[in-house]
């Protein structure tokens, strides 16, 4: 027996999932299911697509059309699915490494096209599946199994990256601020265009342990204490923003959407009907 939300949207017999104790991914996956339910989407029109990594196990648990692809390529597969059948609500679940390292090229080009796909990055600042190597969102000076002396890379701000590349919706939520995250995912799915949700997760097993961040509860407290809502950022003095990260909506605009533009070409030039 499980909750109604789980029964309605999950492949219950696939649970419990494979994620470690205290992993934030389960919270975000539930939030995604809640958003789909709140939007009253037709289940058979929902298609969840992922790449490779911890986050990318998500589609296997969700009772929609689901596609678990190759490392970094989820957005490219998703582009094919969406263009071939624009009626589908295509949601990509990806991780920080999957989306912004090996899949970085696909991210910027999917954003540039403004194709109606929602990408949710389960961002835990580390490569979890392979055992804790630093990722493009591991902060400078922090540790990973491949950064034993501290990371000298700079971290991506995924929302800014997607914004600059042409996404029409960008937002950041966390595994702590669940109701806000659900609302963000709803808005992202509702946006007719490319939407990017940077969903900050926690990885107590690798990121937490490597960086002495404590157990799952300590890491959740960090999300609680260090997140500042975008709505109040302008009102706060700089010292109150030190070491903080910003959550909330950053961009919500309307621009021509790729599949609609392509359908216009078909409508204009199609000969055989």
């Amino acid at each position: 027996m499980s909750s109604q939300l789980i029964k309605n949207n999950f492949r219950e017999d696939r649970l419990p999932h494979i994620w470690c104790p205290g992993c934030g991914h389960g919270i975000i996956m539930r939030s995604l299911a809640q958003a789909v339910e709140n939007l009253n989407l037709e289940k058979q029109k929902v298609c969840v697509i992922s790449g490779i990594g911890c986050s990318s196990r998500t589609p296997g648990y969700l009772d929609f059309n689901t596609l678990h692809t190759t490392h970094g390529r989820a957005l490219a597969f998703a582009t094919g699915v969406k263009l071939a059948n624009p009626e589908l609500k295509v949601i990509v679940v990806t991780g920080d490494g999957d989306c912004t390292a090996i899949g970085g090229n696909h991210l910027i080009h999917t954003a540039r096209r403004n194709i109606d796909i929602t990408a949710i990055v389960f961002n835990n600042n580390i490569y979890g599946m392979t055992g804790g190597q630093y990722s493009p969102t591991t902060p400078t000076n922090e540790f990973g199994t491949t950064a034993p002396f501290g990371n000298i890379d700079k971290a991506f701000d995924i929302c800014k990256l997607a914004d600059a590349a042409g996404a029409t919706y960008t937002a950041r939520g966390t595994a702590y601020h669940v109701n806000q995250l659900t609302k963000i995912i709803e808005n992202a799915i509702s946006n007719k265009g490319f939407s990017l949700v940077d969903a900050i997760s926690i990885c107590p097993t690798y990121y937490g342990r490597k960086n002495k961040k404590g157990a799952a509860v300590n890491m959740m407290n960090y999300l609680k204490d260090f997140a500042v809502d975008a709505k109040v950022v302008d009102k706060l003095p700089p010292e109150k923003l030190e070491n903080k990260f910003i959550i909330g909506e950053f961009k919500n605009t309307t621009e021509p959407e790729y599949t609609e533009e392509y359908m216009k070409i078909i409508k204009k030039y199609q000969k055989e009907r």
Binding site: S2, S3, G22, H25, A216
Partner: protein, 67 residues
């Protein structure tokens, strides 16, 4: 307590609980505790059925059921 909340019951799926302790830590009324790495309801009377445990349980092991 309003009627709607009264109709809800706190449920635990012990097999699914991985013992992370998130629900225990963020329960506003200290209803829950950990025993042998599993969540247990230690003080049901204090439960206000806010559902924060369900919202943040990464493993869907605790939830409010409508009865």
């Amino acid at each position: 307590m309003d009627n709607q909340k009264a109709k809800k019951e706190l449920k635990i799926i012990e097999d699914w609980c991985k013992g992370c302790g998130i629900c225990v830590a963020f329960c506003p009324k200290n209803v829950l505790t950990m025993e042998n790495d599993k969540v247990v309801i230690s003080d049901l009377d204090k439960c206000i059925k806010c559902g924060l445990c369900e919202l943040r349980c990464p493993d869907y092991a605790i939830y409010l059921e409508v009865v």
